[in-house]
């Protein structure tokens, strides 16, 4: 038996329950354009361009140099690595507030005297792996508490934020520990094809994150869980295990960020990565990922990260204080979210 409406008609006549929401937005091509993911990213490209133009005008000579572009990218790399993993967590409807603390903890553990001695006798890769493991284990704890303990992600990771920072302070005895290994410092500050190692790490993580989200079953499941958790569960997806792995992933990314801190500053300190979670979440959200889950892109997140890094750079070039910078960041976050809602609003909802 066939539906009474012919296929061609079904395409043009909005059905009352189903197709109606599409038609009003289609009326405005501009809105339809911006509602698409490509359109949203173009909005981000424009925002980034505007910032570059402002930089070029206010700091001629110093802003638009290749060196300065690398400075911006280096600046963006640590936030960027975590933001890529955070994008997946937020798409799945979660959040991780503990990334900054875990980054600090990882950097401290990596520089502990015993660890450094161990690395001395073997290879510096030992303390790098240990720092990464610290991040992954912290993420695992978050994941188990959230997925199997049914604790709200906001609270579980808030607890980890406080706890991991405290543990880092205990371990470091409130002193700054310094990496001695020359091999590690040389490696982390090396330039390959003229590009700094930190930037390479960011690039590789971003590409891996993009592939993971867009080309693997893991990514597809992440989107499905964020879009409709119950439907995913009833379709036989092991939602708990999946959610747990997502937090391990973002923990691992925090571990990588801890190692990057060590590479950049050579110092393992319990204050490393303070308030990093705010920069990360702001970049992800400005990049177009919905906090309620179900939708988001790695590309958008990368742009979000670059926009904030460029902003910081423009302010530094003009010798403006970090306080002014913070105000500007706040304004940008609000404007970006307002614009997104304006262009991607579901018709009929206010």
């Amino acid at each position: 038996m066939s539906e009474p409406t012919t296929p061609t008609r079904a395409r043009t006549v909005p059905a009352e329950a189903g197709m109606a929401p599409v038609s009003p937005s289609a009326a405005s091509p501009l809105r339809a354009f911006f509602a698409g993911s490509a359109g949203r990213n173009i909005g981000l490209v424009i925002a980034l361009l505007v910032m570059f133009i402002v930089g070029a005008i206010t700091a001629p000579g110093t802003f638009l140099t290749l060196d300065n572009v690398f400075v911006i990218l280096r600046q963006a790399s640590i936030v960027g690595v975590i933001a890529v993993a955070m994008t997946l967590v937020i798409i799945a409807g979660g959040i991780d507030l503990s990334v900054g603390s875990v980054t600090g903890l990882a950097s401290v553990v990596g520089t502990l005297a015993v660890v450094q001695d161990l690395a001395d006798s073997m290879h510096w890769i030992v303390f790098v792996l240990l720092a990464l493991a610290v991040g992954a284990v912290a993420g695992l704890i978050n994941g188990v508490v959230i997925a199997y303990g049914n604790v709200v992600a906001f609270m579980a990771t808030l607890a980890m934020l406080v706890g991991a920072r405290g543990l880092a302070e205990i371990l470091a005895e409130r002193r700054t520990l310094v990496v001695q290994d020359r091999g590690f410092i040389t490696f982390m500050n090396a330039n390959i094809l003229g590009v700094n190692m930190l930037i390479w790490i960011f690039l590789i993580v971003a590409v891996l994150g993009w592939v993971l989200l867009n080309r693997t079953t893991f990514g597809r499941r992440t989107v499905a869980i964020g879009g409709n958790r119950e439907a995913a569960r009833l379709a036989g997806i092991d939602v708990r295990r999946h959610v747990m792995w997502l937090y391990v992933l973002v923990g691992l990314a925090s571990g990588i960020a801890g190692v990057m801190f060590l590479g950049r500053t050579t110092a393992g300190s319990s204050t490393n990565g303070q308030l990093l979670e705010l920069d990360v979440i702001a970049a992800v959200v400005v990049g177009g990922t919905l906090l309620v889950g179900g939708r988001g892109t790695i590309t958008g997140t990368v742009f979000g990260v670059l926009i904030f890094a460029t902003l910081t750079n423009v302010f530094v070039q003009n010798n403006l204080s970090s306080s002014v910078q913070a105000v500007a960041k706040g304004v940008i976050i609000v404007v970006a979210v307002l614009l997104q809602q304006r262009f991607s609003r579901q018709p009929g909802r206010r």
Binding site: M1, E3, E16, A231, L234, G294
Partner: protein, 491 residues
């Protein structure tokens, strides 16, 4: 009393004339334009052609407030009550009774009780939180809110969709009281039997046009109505049963299953090619039984075996792997990822099949989805369409296709035709029959007893979390089921 001749995008020539004090049914399939018509009358949409006459005068309904000013109230399908507020707070939401900025709780409660009494529900305390009420009582609250304004017309969009047989009777009693008070009711439904019981006149919509205006209910045969709605005749709504092969193996074997406080001692078997139906009222435990068999709820006792393999309790994952699939009661909130395209929703349970080493092969998923789209005549026939944009019937087909693609052999269907219009229903019925004929074991739950009886080979009559009787479907009718249920509940 009112007349609309409108040309909003989904409507292209609609006439509707409603008299004071009548129940005017609007009938039409999904997509016929019923909801758009309602929204035009409620002031959500504006007509771009035609006019609305109200008590003899041309009016323009600019926004929902204007509609209420005129005396037109609307009860939408999705109940628009706020769960966290009390009944009285809901009723006066937006026009709170207040003096100098302070709400007058006493006065609101008094008026609420009065309104509830008018609706025959004086027993509901006005300070009850709405979230604790049943769907039927929430509907009463919604109606009381409409009545708190001085209204002359109330539009009800499929009010019976969330109610069971008893509650529908209650609803009808309320509707009769409204009409007795001279209020006109526009009643939207696709259940023909309800129109027989409550309607005075019928207007039929098809593809955004009226195909019949104001037919008297009493003189219009059902076949005629179906023809007006669909443009064709439906001879046999339920497909013919196929005899089950005598040697057909038992695929699903449920023994002594129980969920503490909900149901107990549920045992039944389903053979390959058999359709087993659970008949009972809302709250009898039907859906819970299905969800527990599936592992979505963790059984407190008993076993579920699929082809001699015992399933671990409370594991959907294991059930799916053993070849069990559930089409859940709430299609949108439990079944589909609405913003994802059709092909993703179809492939949702079989993702690893459409991937190599964890990497997605969307081309294969789209190809298989296209096959299913053709087989099910799913419309629109575009695998990249978001599931949200499909009608209820087509969304249901996605869920059936999902399990077919997965290679499921035990299908658990909870309310497979809720929110699905008459024409598409017949299609779903045919599909379910075909699936059984292909050797699948099917368990179906529906609040429409007629549907269970028409589809199933074997019927389990359920009341109060117990199976009262198991018998072949042809040995019992709707009356018999209700009889058993009433006696069973009383005992």
């Amino acid at each position: 009393m009112a007349k609309a001749f409108s040309g909003v995008h989904a409507l292209r020539g609609v006439d509707l004339r409603v008299r004071a004090g009548e129940v005017h049914c609007v009938l039409g399939q999904n997509g016929a334009g019923k909801s758009t018509l309602i929204k035009t009358l409620a002031g959500v949409h504006r007509p771009d052609a035609g006019e609305i006459l109200w008590l003899g005068e041309t009016v323009e309904i600019a926004d929902p407030d204007a509609a209420i000013e005129l005396g037109i109230a609307t009860m939408y399908q999705e109940l628009d009550v706020v769960d966290g507020l009390t009944i009285a707070e809901n009723i006066f939401l937006g026009h709170e009774l207040s003096r100098a900025g302070f709400t007058q709780r006493g006065e609101a409660a008094r008026r609420t009780t009065e309104l509830l009494r008018r609706l025959g529900h004086a027993n509901l305390p006005p300070h009850t939180e709405v979230g604790t009420l049943s769907a039927a009582n929430k509907q009463i609250v919604s109606m009381a809110r409409a009545l708190s304004h001085d209204i002359k017309l109330i539009i009800m969009d499929e009010p019976s969709a969330v109610l069971d047989t008893e509650e529908v009777k209650n609803l009808f009693a309320v509707v009769r009281e409204l009409t007795a008070a001279g209020i006109a009711v526009v009643y939207i439904t696709h259940r023909l039997e309800e129109i027989r019981e409550i309607g005075d006149r019928i207007t039929v919509l098809k593809d955004g046009r009226t195909t019949a205006v104001g037919l008297p209910v009493a003189d219009t045969p059902t076949a005629e109505l179906i023809r007006l709605m669909t443009g064709r005749d439906i001879a046999n709504v339920f497909p013919e049963r196929m005899p089950i092969e005598p040697g057909a193996p038992v695929v699903l074997d449920v023994q002594g299953l129980g969920l503490a406080g909900v149901f107990a001692d549920v045992s039944f078997t389903v053979r390959a090619g058999e359709v087993v139906g659970l008949a009972g009222l809302v709250g009898s435990g039907r859906s819970e039984i299905l969800e527990t068999v599936y592992g979505a709820r963790k059984a407190s006792e008993g076993t579920v075996r699929v082809r001699d393999r015992t399933l671990p309790r409370g594991s959907v994952h294991a059930a799916v792997r053993a070849g069990v699939g559930l089409s859940p009661e709430e299609r949108k909130s439990q079944g589909l990822v609405l913003d994802e395209p059709i092909f993703v929703n179809i492939a949702l349970a079989s993702m690893t099949r459409f991937a190599r080493g964890g990497f997605l092969d969307d081309r294969a998923a789209r190809r298989v989805a296209r096959e299913q789209i053709d087989a099910f005549e799913l419309r629109p026939a575009d695998p990249d369409r978001p599931a949200r944009t499909l009608s209820g019937g087509n969304q249901q087909k996605i869920l059936l296709a999902r399990w077919l693609v997965h290679g499921t052999t035990v299908l658990l269907l909870d309310e497979p035709t809720r929110g699905v219009d008459v024409g598409a229903r017949a299609e779903i019925y045919a599909v379910i029959r075909d699936l059984a004929a292909a050797g699948n074991a099917v368990v179906i739950v529906s609040s429409e007893i007629e549907e269970v009886l028409g589809l199933a080979d074997t019927v389990l009559v359920v009341a109060d979390g117990r199976i009262l009787r198991t018998l072949p479907a042809h040995q019992i009718d709707e009356h018999g089921v209700l009889d058993l249920v009433m006696k069973g509940t009383a005992a």
